[in-house]
Symmetry: C2
Subunit: 422 residues, 2 copies
């Protein structure tokens, strides 16, 4: 292919998420050839994935082609393919569709949900990491109400109208708040046989409080807000089994037709591709410049990297961290390409934690500022619109939010692909 | 279920398309209990389906839950289910999910594509009738470009960049125009290895001209417009075989990675459910009040009905015809319910034919007005926005059209569900 024949250093980036895309964009002016390889053709804005799962936004609102984002960057190309192997000695990335030589390699392949050794639970309790996950959850959520409307006996109807969410981090909290709103505000006028307001949403957390990464009083505020909305919050409660009928808790059985997994996270298998040392969540332990020990030409960033903050705490698996790592690695690569001294060690700057609790409240913890309630929610909305890529998406999502806020509607309530229907 | 225990006549409508939905809505004030049964939870605005297939709109823009449309109509309920059988003697509709008694039954189950006895072609040449069809075509369209970017030899690259559309009715014309625009206007800046402007789009029609239902000079105008845009139009050309590598024409072989079927149409199997006499396209031959001979309590409307115009010509299988039939049947049912004399025979009023040719031109044939070019296209846009249900969808689709018209973008270019990837 003509593209990579320039003789300039070849930078291959595996993964077009927040980390990988940042590396590519920050290398726009560097004298290198950039190839972004991803198994999907799109970049997904994960922080809003829960809104696709709960039928507020369409997949197209929060995901857009990687090659469209990079279309004006002449030193970058985008290829679709799934990595099968990396030949570290020969410096080759081998995918199902193509084999790529590299001079510098960036692995930014993210993380997926972990079932703590019980992968058989995934079928009954899908997690929420990819666009496909969101449409699977949306389908189950909507089908549960459809089936309840058709149900002939009370126990079955109750089971269908019970939603269990395992894990009360930001994703679990956001899902719980959003689902109870769908059930109480959107659905009631549309069903004739069931009373959708009787829907139960149960948020199950193994730890002692919701939002463990937040200060305790914000966890407390969040739990009280959720409970006021109608969510049942069970803390210090461990799930011992998931099946198609519900979940087993230490405290007993919970019959629930829809179970969503928002608990554990495990890194992608990138560490295995390169035979690197990983921590117990599968993340590659990196040097302080984010390169892999023994391989200065390979970098690992984002949710796949195990990096430390100056105070020894781990860098969290969130979008701003992935972007900061991406910017740092692009800086190292660009410096090397022009023969300059690479920057010093990566230093993570924690900008804060954020979680929404339904359609009018949020909690926010920044280094010098804490906030909860409506004001935090408004800041959350503005911040997330701001971070979307492209004016088209910003306008569209803003329009849908304003419209649906005013009308209590949900815009994307399609049950497509009914393989598991009725 | 409480809903149907009122003792009022039970009207069951199978199918929530244009016909079925019109019947339901027009019965809002009638003293009957209406049940709409559909195998999908949404009503699909089929005239814009080609824009989902070509990545302009998201499925959620043109499909919305039937129960949302009918939420304020207290005498109507909506159930999800697929009919397996109709017991005409016992007046029961038997679905996979529920069994419904009826006093009056309306079958409005539409049509699907017909391969003229070659159903094995469907796998290689999908048609465009349902939302799922549109996302299948979108996936193939986008994957063809992705694979071409990765292709190692010229013949394969050419095959991947060749799109064959079989059938030059409005759907075929609209697809051809839209695909050539994607290839020539959207894609070129985003690919580094291929020149997307070399894409071939070939529109194949067995008859002597495109848009056979239009006057010849508009067919001529359409063909010239398409050719100016770069589409190759082959009229009087029959397809003798479709496979995964391309199509066989009477005139020879055409290697094409993407083949789309826009040729034949066959009615749903509703005629078989009730053992009625059907024409050779599977449509039920109906009385002039649209009831089934021998069954005054069963009506068939829309693409599943074989009805005649006063001049003996068949009523066409288009949305306005389905709506008119639906309104007529609602009138008959409402009259019977209040003991009044039912209206006279159904009379179809043909409002016109419309087809777009890309993003700046259309042809329009109304009883006293013909038009082509930009003005016709603007009327087409306004008319289609108007016929969308709900202000939210109207604003959203209008916004996307204006935006993408100005920027030459496409908003919904996601390859989701990659079962057949690479």
């Amino acid at each position: 292919m003509d593209f990579a024949a320039s003789g300039r250093p070849k930078v291959v980036i595996v993964g077009g998420g927040f980390g990988g895309l940042t590396v590519a964009m920050k290398l726009a002016k560097a004298d290198v050839d950039v190839t972004v390889l991803d198994r999907h053709n799109y970049h997904c804005f994960q922080p809003l994935l829960y809104q696709v799962a709960t039928a507020e936004l369409s997949p197209g609102d929060i995901a857009w082609p990687i090659r469209h984002v990079l279309r004006k960057q002449k030193n970058a190309r985008v290829l679709l393919g799934k990595v099968t192997e990396i030949d570290v000695a020969a410096r080759k990335v081998i995918a199902d569709s193509v084999t790529l030589d590299y001079d510098e390699l960036v692995l930014a392949t993210g993380a997926t949900h972990s079932y703590f050794g019980h992968d058989e639970w995934e079928k009954s309790a899908p997690g929420l990491k990819r666009v496909e996950d969101a449409t699977i959850i949306r389908r189950r959520l909507l089908l549960a109400f459809e089936r309840a409307e058709l149900a002939q006996d009370d126990a079955e109807r109750e089971r269908l109208l019970t939603f269990a969410i395992v894990g009360a981090g930001p994703t679990g909290v956001e899902l719980a708040g959003s689902i109870i709103e769908v059930a109480r505000q959107v659905m009631p006028s549309e069903f004739r046989c069931i009373d959708a307001r009787t829907t139960r949403v149960i948020l199950i957390e193994a730890g002692p409080r919701v939002l463990p990464s937040f200060p305790p009083h914000l966890s407390d505020y969040t739990q009280k807000s959720l409970e006021r909305m109608g969510v049942e919050v069970l803390t210090s409660t461990r799930v011992t089994n998931c099946d198609d009928e519900g979940v087993d808790l230490e405290s007993g059985r919970l019959q629930a037709a829809t179970v969503i997994w928002a608990a554990g996270v495990v890194a992608s298998e990138a560490g295995q591709w390169i035979g690197a040392a990983c921590d117990n969540a599968g993340r590659v332990v990196v040097n302080d410049d984010l390169s892999v020990p023994g391989h200065p030409e390979i970098f690992v960033i984002g949710d796949t990297a195990s990096a430390k903050r100056p105070d020894g705490k781990p860098v969290p698996g969130i979008a701003p961290a992935a972007k900061q790592m991406g910017a740092h690695v692009a800086d190292v690569i660009a410096s090397r390409a022009r023969g300059a001294v690479p920057p010093r060690a990566f230093r993570y700057r924690h900008q804060g934690d954020f979680a929404t609790i339904g359609r009018r409240s949020a909690v926010m913890k920044m280094p010098y500022l804490e906030m909860s309630g409506l004001m935090a929610w408004l800041i959350w909305c503005v911040a997330h619109i701001y971070f979307l890529i492209g004016a088209r998406h910003r306008l569209m999502v803003a329009f849908k939010w304003v419209w649906d806020f005013a009308t209590f509607q949900r815009g994307a309530r399609l049950i497509t692909d009914q393989r598991d229907q009725l």
